[in-house]
Structures are given as C-alpha cells and as structure tokens.
Symmetry: C2
Subunit: 92 residues, 2 copies
C-alpha cells in the first residue's frame, strides 16, 4: 500500500474515532452547555445521509464509518436535547 492510501486511512480513522472521546465525556459528565445544538443536528443528519449514500452506492467504508459516527453523534445530540432548557438557563 502506498503512503497516500495510508494517509487516507489514517485520516478516515481519526475523523471517525474522534467522536468516541466526546461521546464518552458527554455520557460521563452529562454536561452539554458548550456544545452546539445546531452542529449536532446538522452532523447527525449528515452522517445518516452519508450512511444511506454508502448503502445505495454499495460503498462499504463510507456506510460503515458513517454508521459508527452517526451513533456517536446521535448520542451526543440526545443529551444536548435532554439538557435543552437547562443549557439555555446556564447561558443567561
């Protein structure tokens, strides 16, 4: 495997697994005050769309990576929505 392909795999690995520590932190602390609701709404919808795109184009890496990121992102979004009114109060 040439080093350009290795770089692509390293990049895919980093951007996918990066959501693991954020999801763990959010589950552990239940604190979402500085997390953006708009970001996780867009990102969760985006990864779901990427996943469906991967399924329809029969692209396993795209569908697999985005299935993982979708679940992690949806978990963070769940806590953000659950904390909704509390987070708004903390802002004021």
């Amino acid at each position: 495997m040439d080093w350009v392909s290795v770089a692509g795999l390293v990049a895919a690995f980093c951007t996918t697994v990066s959501f693991v520590p954020q999801a763990l932190k959010t589950i552990r602390t239940k604190d979402t005050s500085s997390i953006s609701l708009a970001m996780y709404s867009l990102f969760t919808f985006g990864t779901l769309t990427w996943f469906l795109y991967g399924v329809y184009t029969k692209n396993l890496p795209v569908s697999l990576a985005n299935a993982v990121t979708f679940l992690l992102s949806a978990t963070i979004l769940f806590y953000k929505i659950k904390n909704g009114s509390k987070d708004k109060k903390a802002m004021s």
Copy 2:
C-alpha cells in the same frame, strides 16, 4: 443529477457546515468546558490529513471541504487548549 448524487452532496454539505455553528458558539461564549480535547485533537489532525490526501490525489472536493473543516476545528481546539487549566478546575 440523480438523487443518490444529490444525497451525497447534501451529506457533504451538512457534515462540513455543521462545524460553523460550533465554532461561532465557541468564539462567542469562549466556553469549552463540555467539549472534548481528545475529540478536537484527533479531528483537527484528521481533517489536515484528509486535506493533504485531497491535494496529493488531486481531489478538489475532498481538499476544499477539509480545508474549511480544518480551520473551524482548529479554531475550537485553540480555545479548548487556551481554556485548558480552567476547564479542568471546572470539572472537579
């Protein structure tokens, strides 16, 4: 353009621009207490690697989208590192 290509573009748009509201919120509030340092370290490195991968493979959409996400992610990481000791104190 078929609807599968449209879905791919919608997905790419959502996952790229999703970092705009998070960066704006972080710049405005300067609060990074519930943001994961590990996530933004990995994600910033990952988008930089994606960008270089896009440049070397002459893939304009990959290099362009990841240049944007890298800048947004690096901005959030900058504030997280700046708030380092303050965030740790808030946790205890």
